[in-house]
Amino acid sequence: MLTITDLSVAFPASCVQALSEVSFFVAPGETVGIVGESGSGKSMTALAIAGLLPPVAKASGEIRFWGRRFVIGVSSDSDWRAIRGVELGVVFQDPSIGLNPLLSVGSQVSEVLRFHLRKSKLEAEKETVRLFNLLGLYPAKVRMRQFPHQLSGGMKQRVMLAAAICCRPRLLIADEPTTALDVSVQAQILCLLKELTAAADTALLLISHDLGVIAQLAERVLVLCAGQLVEEAAVAELFSRPAHPYTRFLLASVPRLDLPLALKVPAIEDNDQLLSGCGFASRCPERVSKCLSNPPLIRLSHGRKVRCHNRR
């Protein structure tokens, strides 16, 4: 359904290659997770798919979305606008950025319905009430008339979710949707995402640095490191048998309730990446001399890929 081919994003002004030749696909109704540290390029992937890359970025690649073809850097903003909001919903980390503080939250959701689906005012409001009830924004009629500052972070994120799914998109991109929220609210949002995507058969691209969040929802996981896809696997396999040392490093970093922190780090670590070669090489405990050249992405088995010279 969504196919991304050789997506590259660079910032020439600051000499940064944010993404290099990332290719993947998302099947209809599937939930795909993208993990990586900050700066790994996971947010850039989301922005690129939604056609929202900053103008200073130099990008290339091709995106096929449900039969439509977008060439990054060539397709115009109006091409993207045809799918954004209708077939493609986006939820970002900070819900307060996406909401206009001067409009009631209900009108911001019904506006989307009226604009994209050409619904009448009354129809749009009825649909908004239904969505607010579905997302647990009780009492919906009161909540609709409230303004963003009157809602908690979790509620604002649910309003954003309502705006993103109101047109029943085929794909929902959620970029760190729960990072700013409390654990209990995070659990609610994650449950909602799971229910909503299952009910409407919406595909979900879930982006997070937290493997705990990924483990809860994703069916298939892509691991990004320094702008490169380093591992791709089904969720169960990734967590039971991580193939890339970077994935193991990420897994060891997550604080767990059942095991002590397993990470081993040097006293002073340098975060500088090597100019060439594998993006994880400078920090990799299993580094060999070969790692100074960039390893190819190798297919291990069906749907499983890894980019490492030293694979087991």
Binding site: D182, V183, S184, F239, A252, P255, L263, I268
Partner: protein, 308 residues
């Protein structure tokens, strides 16, 4: 074990809306022992940050007393108690270099000449795992993890005995946060520190703390050794927080959690503050506020139904 810091019956209020006042901290007592890491968990609005600010002297309690090293002290700032903030970008003056930032405590105390001070800055930077190449950088040129290390180094130069860590890793990604947690444990040994770690992440608290207190709407609802509280939680709120934690394991899914917003809840003027969210709430829970009672050795719970 010797208590380094104690709070007794601390109350802090702030005005909210026209006539209402909110008790952000409502009669909290706790003791932190020397060289201990004490965790404070709860959702936003539980009063945990206000409590941290009272300890560091940034806010004044309207009732209650503070004890430091066994002596009763007036609330206020003191060199021995320092704080590391959640948002490292806001906590560092954007116009100062790392060298100036870390040096500041020494300049204020008028310690040594510039060369001596720089030597100490370099030593402390090495202790927090930062390279000397960082000296000339400005805060915005650092990553979140590096900024948090600079903030730590700044407090360490004045040789505090207690550091209040307010959500120190919640703005960092997993790898940076794991490294900071390991660093905190190492510094505690090297500098003989005690920490009060404020966090909403239970796994973070479990990894680094010895004892923990769970706060809900200004009150401590459960406290004890971390293993005891997390392995056999006695308060339904603690259980809810533990259930909600997303395990990095696809086999362990979060159970469906009821949607409740604190704002939706009816006024909780009487009874247990958690009763509107509690599935086991009885009539007694609605009428009578439970006191913190001992459940087992060094394990205290404020719940009427804890003993059932």
């Amino acid at each position: 074990m010797e208590a380094i810091l104690a709070l007794k019956g601390v109350v802090a209020v702030y005005p909210s809306g026209a006539q209402r006042i909110v008790k952000a901290v409502d009669g909290v007592s706790l003791t932190i022992y020397s060289r201990e890491t004490f965790g404070l968990v709860g959702e936003s609005g539980s009063g945990k940050t206000t409590l941290g600010k009272i300890i560091t002297g940034l806010e004044r309690p309207c009732r209650g007393s503070l004890y430091f090293n066994g002596k009763r002290v007036a609330p206020g700032m003191r060199r021995e108690i320092q704080m590391v903030f959640q948002d490292s970008a806001a906590a560092l003056n954007p116009r100062l270099t790392v060298a100036n930032l870390v040096e500041e405590g020494l300049v204020i105390q008028k310690t040594g000449d510039r060369a001596e001070r720089m030597q100490q800055v370099l030593k402390i930077l090495a202790d927090v795992g930062l390279d000397r190449m960082m000296l000339k950088r400005y805060p915005h040129q650092l990553s979140g993890g590096q900024r948090q290390r600079v903030a730590l180094a700044r407090t360490l130069v004045v040789l505090p005995s207690v550091i209040v860590l307010d959500e120190p890793v919640s703005a960092l990604d997993v790898t940076a946060s794991a490294r900071l947690l390991l660093l905190l444990a190492r510094l505690k040994e090297a500098y003989g520190l005690s920490y009060l770690l404020i966090s909403h992440n239970l796994a973070v608290v479990l990894q680094v703390c010895e004892r923990v207190a769970v706060m809900y709407l200004g009150k401590i609802v459960e406290t004890g050794r971390v293993e005891t509280v997390f392995n056999s939680p006695a308060h339904p709120y603690t259980r809810l927080l533990l259930d909600a934690y997303p395990h990095p394991d696809p086999q362990k899914k979060i159970p469906v959690i009821q949607l409740f917003e604190p704002e939706n809840l009816p006024s909780t003027a009487s009874g247990c503050r958690f009763h509107p969210r509690c599935s086991k709430a009885s009539l007694r829970c609605r009428q009578q506020t439970p006191a913190l009672a001992q459940k087992s050795e060094r394990h205290f719970v404020a719940c009427h139904r804890a003993s059932e």
